[in-house]
């Protein structure tokens, strides 16, 4: 299994893809995983392989409505109505979703698009594909979360910048500081008080308001 296969076989000798090469990334191990599929042979394989990643695996079938929310990854059959059963709003997922689809019939693409899974896993499940889908789903989930947090911080910074510019102008006007002195003053005050420059700037602007 992945954890034991460090480095893998030397190149050129065996061209078959290895089940899983290298260590499981931190973001794909030690997880709470919920599996929502029939417990047939493929279902058993899936549960067994996921357990081997040292994650805690819970099985639920048939799919409840809503689906369980207290988990890191949800492996779930792409059943009709799945998008509505997901216990979060699209765009604000609380867990990574791997859609389980049959290999013999066409996938309902509209359903797939609306379910917004992070990865897709085709029956019959192979150990290599299971681990790959887990790693991909967790990686994409974490990446989107980082992007969302970046946007939030950018929004906050954009607002703070306006306060900083005003505070700078106030310092330059009332304390006859040069521009770089004013910035330095804001930075050092923020460091001293262990708050952001934006907070200090907003305080200066408010105080200036109160003093008229």
């Amino acid at each position: 299994m992945a954890n034991s296969l460090k480095g893998g076989a030397p190149r050129g000798q065996d061209l078959r893809p290895a089940p899983a090469m290298g260590r499981l990334p931190v973001e794909a191990s030690d997880l709470d995983i919920v599996v929502v599929t029939a417990r047939d042979e493929a279902g058993e394989t899936l549960i067994r392989e996921l357990q081997r990643t040292r994650s805690r695996v819970r099985h639920v079938w048939p799919p409840p409505d809503p689906l369980p929310v207290d988990t890191d990854v949800l492996f779930c059959d792409l059943v009709p109505g799945l998008p509505a059963r997901l216990p979060w709003l699209p765009g604000e997922p609380k867990a990574a979703l791997v859609a389980l689809v049959p290999s013999s019939v066409l996938v309902d693409l509209d359903l797939l698009r609306k379910a917004t899974p992070e990865a897709v896993l085709h029956r019959p499940f192979t150990p290599a594909a299971i681990v790959a889908s887990l790693v991909l789903a967790r990686s994409r989930f974490a990446y989107e979360r980082r992007l969302r947090s970046r946007i939030e911080r950018l929004d906050a910074t954009l607002r703070a910048t306006r306060s900083v510019e005003r505070a700078k102008a106030i310092l330059m006007g009332t304390r006859s500081m040069a521009e770089d002195q004013a910035y330095h003053h804001l930075r050092s005050q923020a460091m001293e008080r262990r708050v952001s420059v934006g907070v200090i700037a907003a305080a200066i602007v408010d105080a200036h308001d109160l003093l008229g």
């Binding site: 998008p83 509505a84 709003l89 699209p90 765009g91 604000e92 066409l106 693409l109 698009r113 609306k114 917004t116 929004d155 954009l158 607002r159 306006r162 005003r166 308001d209 008229g212």
Partner: protein, 377 residues
Amino acid sequence: MGCTRKQAATSEPWRVGVLFSNSGFMAVIEETQLRGTLLAIDEINAAGGVNGREIVPVCYNPASEAAAFGHYAKCLMVADDVTTIFGCYTSSSRKAVLPVVERLNGLLWYPTLYEGFELSPNIIYTGAAPNQNSVALCRFLMANYGRRFYFVGSDYIYPRESNRVMREIVRNNGGEVAGETYLGLRARPADFLPVIREVHELRPDIIFSTVVGDATSHLYQAYADAGFDPKTMPIASLTTTEAEIRAMGFDVGAGHITAAPYFQGIGGDRDKSFVSRYKKRYGDDEPTNMCVEAAYFQVHIFARALEAANSMETDILRPMVLGSSLDAPQGRISIDAGNNHASLWTRIGRANRRGQFEVMQQSLSAVIADPFMVSCG
């Protein structure tokens, strides 16, 4: 799959989502937005629909609960197969819908003034951004009433963010904010007594209100009961429209100031025919207002874009929306291709004893939105 269904679908209606509250503390204004939306849809259908196909609204009532807006946006997009949604008044409700339309690549048409500092590729903003109402309002007030402002608002995103921007504008124009207070969205009449007491003590020149919903009536009523005079210390607002004035009573609202892209009383043929069609459908004593007007014209913008795109797929429809223009009741407006916001007219109105606003001042043409206040000092 897809192909056969699409070929057979040429007479199928265009389904669109509609999310405005029929009940709860925001119903006074959101119901008027619903009416503006449905009036426009009826007009388009009466004229033969879009490319021969009818527009059919799928409406939900989120009952003034922000979380319900997110929930129903999800229902519309995953269960009802809708890609375009007309809706939202409060910023909290818009922010609840935003992740849904962004993730599933839909379009939210948002017909309400808001605090700016947002630009989603999945929202078309047809209400005023701060540079289209607050800046002119502030200058007008300082030229006519004085430089000391008292801020009172409902306690949620819009008033706090909008006041942050307003405070900056006031200061840049040499004014000052003498006091600032926020009340719950469900504030009762008695909750405004401490506000009135503070106004008595501070004696500002202007009360700047971002109170919304039913609480608006309570504020203006408390002001009237205290015997203040709008000639010397008016309540100025960006959110008090003809709908709120009607709810509080014409005499209570008279003399107070609002900045908006549209008032029922602006006149002109286009506005007169819009007002008469609205009254014909909803009753003679139902006034139009800026939110009705935005809700109304944005459906017409949508219909024209849809006619050109002949598809509800957001990636095909959106390019037809961006850069388009329309003769709206307020005048010629357009959707800026760079920022998804409508270029709108700036107007300052004073309420008269008939519940209408008399235009005191207006821009010479539509003003381009500057949602991030990049070029507003």
